[in-house]
Amino acid sequence: MGTNRDKLHRKLGVKLIAIVGLTAIAIIGVYSYFSIRAQSTSLLAEVERHANQLSETVRKSTRYGMMLNQREYVHEIINDVGTDPAIEEVRVLNKEGKIIYSSNAENIGRMVDKKAESCFACHAADRPLQRLPVAERARIFQVGADFPRMLGIVTPIYNEPACWEAQCHAHPERQAVLGVLDITTSLALVDDEIQRSELQHGLFALIAVVAISIIIGFFVRRWVDAPVNALLAATEAVGTGNLSYRIEAGSEDEIGRLARSFNTMTQKLSEARLQLFQSDKMASLGRLAAGVAHELNNPLTGVLTYSSFLLNRAKQNPELHGDLEVIVRETTRSREIVKSLLDFARQSVPRMTRTNLNEIIERSVGVMDKQLTVRGIRVTRALDENLPLVKADANQMEQVFINLLVNAADAIGERGGVIAVRSKAITLQPYGVVPIKRAFCRKGHDLMANDVKIDGLPSIRVKARAEGREGYVALDPVFGGGRHHYDLDVKPETTASYFCPRCEVSLLDNESKCVRCSAPICVLNVPPHGMIQLCTRRGCSWQHWEAMEAAGGRQYVEVRVDDTGAGIAPEELDKIFEPFYTTKGQKGTGLGLAVIWGIIDNHDGTIKVESVVGKGTVFTIRLSADQEG
């Protein structure tokens, strides 16, 4: 049980966390990748622009020196600029590729190959290009793995009139580019920046995933785990037979609704079980009581006849006479007790006529009225004037109401109080209630099977084929009931094709599908109430009965008897309908409510009790007000 729960926990919680975590990693990863790329691109562009600007500045500040051919002056400027730690080297190359100025003195005079990477951009083609945009003049390179990346930018020094007009050494006029200024800056800072950013993104991703997991874990535990575990515990409790187990359903979400419907289900189950249990017990107790009464009456006849015989002949012996009187009196009392047992056992055959329960209520209240008034008990009546007639045994129903009134009065005791009797017509939906009594295939073969009964009613037998197997299915004859018996080895959720067991005609309705699960549906003729449609998927309880559903709910008469008495403790509520259960000590036989229960059960009705200790008790009786059944 514990490990199951842990497993489930692992399954739900961890699965969710894993999925959300992976999604988060993927999203953050993609985002980081593009973000870092954009950042490094913009950083590099900035560095390029900066280098270009620097390069232009150097070119412009050395221009005058070059014009005047003041080489020392140019040298000074280049050296000064080159002292900046971020600048690796500043050099000027002439047309031939010779380094004529350099911040790195030892390089001066060295030749640079035109195929070298700094020259490649312009000199790749046979005829060198004269003008290039900044981005193409820049290059990024690395001398070795241990060295930082470098950005070099080449700025051409163009010929201008002042150059070829100068008297010094005068460049020829047709020469477009006189040489280049090449500045190399270190990218170490930029690279550091990018690396830090990558690290930050990674860290952020990690923190985000952990945080998301913790948050999800927390809420899964709170919204899924705890309620699911509560549900599991409840199903286990119900599984072991504890039908009074209730789940605390707090939330309004699906799990909360599931918990509530679970509670409703167990409550209905426990009511049904009680009803069934009672019915069973009553039947056997009835037989027992009848048997006991019969068996007891014969010996009692012997005792009573002999003792009364002797009594009549012992008049001259006062002592004997007195003793015999005791025997006769006590035997007569025994006779009354046995009679009440028989009365209890005798409820088997109600004498049904169409009856207005209001009249019976009035009569019962009339019988009790004086007695109740003396005890300071007021009876209020709220009777529905349009109450439909019900088929009932008037005597027995009167017995029921009088008994309920007596009980209510006893519960109120001497303090005085109110008994409220209410009657009303109510309508309950047919779904799950109305039995299907006749069913035929479209060729008119009777499908009812008396040998397989479901909940006491003959089932509807159809031939079923699924997954290449063939067998029979006994359909639950209660409209909306899903307790089909499968004589066919298929798993739940399997859809089967139904046929008439006699003529093999298909019972499927090809024109429509189950509105719940879209599985094929089967259609049966149920005269005189048209047709009934039901889903063929095992486990789907969808059914549709046009005639019944159109007719709407069925009419019932409900009578409530409310008292302001002492109430009944919850642990006693289950027992009050049991024979010989009494709270009245010597006063009662403990048969009253058992008799009521038996009577209502014989009328195919239901009786329900609700009670709050100190506040009072309500008995609710429901009888069918329909013409048939």
């Binding site: 006849t301 006849t305 015989f309």
Partner: protein, 282 residues
């Protein structure tokens, strides 16, 4: 158990047979005993008894089958049904099927004796007197039509009035089986009477108490005010002025189906036989 015994007692319980024998012998009645139904039937077929006391629940045959055989043999033989399984259905069915009395177990000596006495007296009545003679009551009825009576055997009757109330009385045969009516004990108004259970007690001239079983159930509206003073009214006009109660019937439509209708369909025959066939209960 000699030939020509007065009373045949059929019961599968030895102690009941012995007790009845004890009481009867003390009264000087001769009795014959049968400890099972088949033996009882055989005896009925072989001999004439003045009275038969028969249990209802027995192995082989039940008391109603014995009753049927006995009535086939002699339609007017007095039979008293007795049972330890005393129910309204048994009471009504016994009386409607033609038994003259119904005696639930356990009973006292007095109760047994009063039943036996009535049974024996019934056997002494002329065949005509063993049937109800309410002809004049039925004939003398309102212009609207004849009055419809429902009979619980030879014990009690009820007829309905236009207002929906019912009037309950005692059948003349019952009164004839008593040694005169010396006194009457009635239930007070507002009480309930129940079909097949005692609703009045008549004291005979010999001082025996005879219980009248109610024909239907209902709440008593009115008790015949004249009866207490003039008990003789009962015998003088059993179907008219001698009524017992006016009641609000509880379940008349059902309960009357269990009774005999008088008159039955068609013109009334004053001294016709009362249909012995009871409605069959399933």
């Amino acid at each position: 158990m000699s030939d020509g015994a007065d009373i045949l007692v059929i019961d599968d319980e030895r102690v009941v047979l012995d007790a009845v024998a004890k009481v009867c012998n003390a009264q000087g009645m001769t009795i014959d005993l049968a400890q099972d139904a088949l033996q009882g039937v055989r005896k009925i077929e072989q001999q004439q008894y003045r009275l038969i006391l028969c249990d209802i629940r027995m192995p082989d045959l039940d008391g109603f089958q014995v009753l049927e055989r006995a009535l086939q043999q002699n339609a007017l033989v007095p039979v008293i049904m007795t049972t330890g399984y005393a129910t309204i259905e048994h009471a009504v069915r016994s009386l409607v099927s033609g038994a003259v009395g119904y005696l639930p177990k356990p009973f006292t000596e007095e109760e047994l004796l009063s039943s036996l006495h009535r049974g024996l007296r019934y056997g002494e009545l002329s065949p005509g007197d063993r049937l109800p003679s309410f002809g004049s009551a039925v004939a003398s009825v309102s212009p609207a039509g004849r009055r419809q009576f429902y009979m619980l055997g030879r014990v009690s009757w009820v007829h309905t009035e236009e207002t929906g109330t019912g009037v309950v009385g005692v059948v003349d045969v019952f009164l004839r089986t008593m040694d005169g009516v010396a006194g009457i004990q009635l239930l007070p108004g507002e009480e309930e009477i129940v079909q097949g259970t005692p609703c009045a007690r008549l004291t005979s001239g010999e001082g025996l108490m005879h219980e009248v079983f109610g024909p239907v159930s209902g709440r008593i509206l009115e008790v015949n005010p004249r009866l207490e003073q003039e008990v003789a009214l009962l015998r003088e006009d059993p179907y008219g002025e001698g009524w017992l109660y006016r009641i609000v019937p509880r379940n008349l439509s059902y309960e009357t189906t269990q009774l005999q209708r008088v008159p039955q369909e068609g013109p009334h025959e004053p001294r016709g036989t009362v249909a012995p066939k009871p409605p069959v209960r399933t």
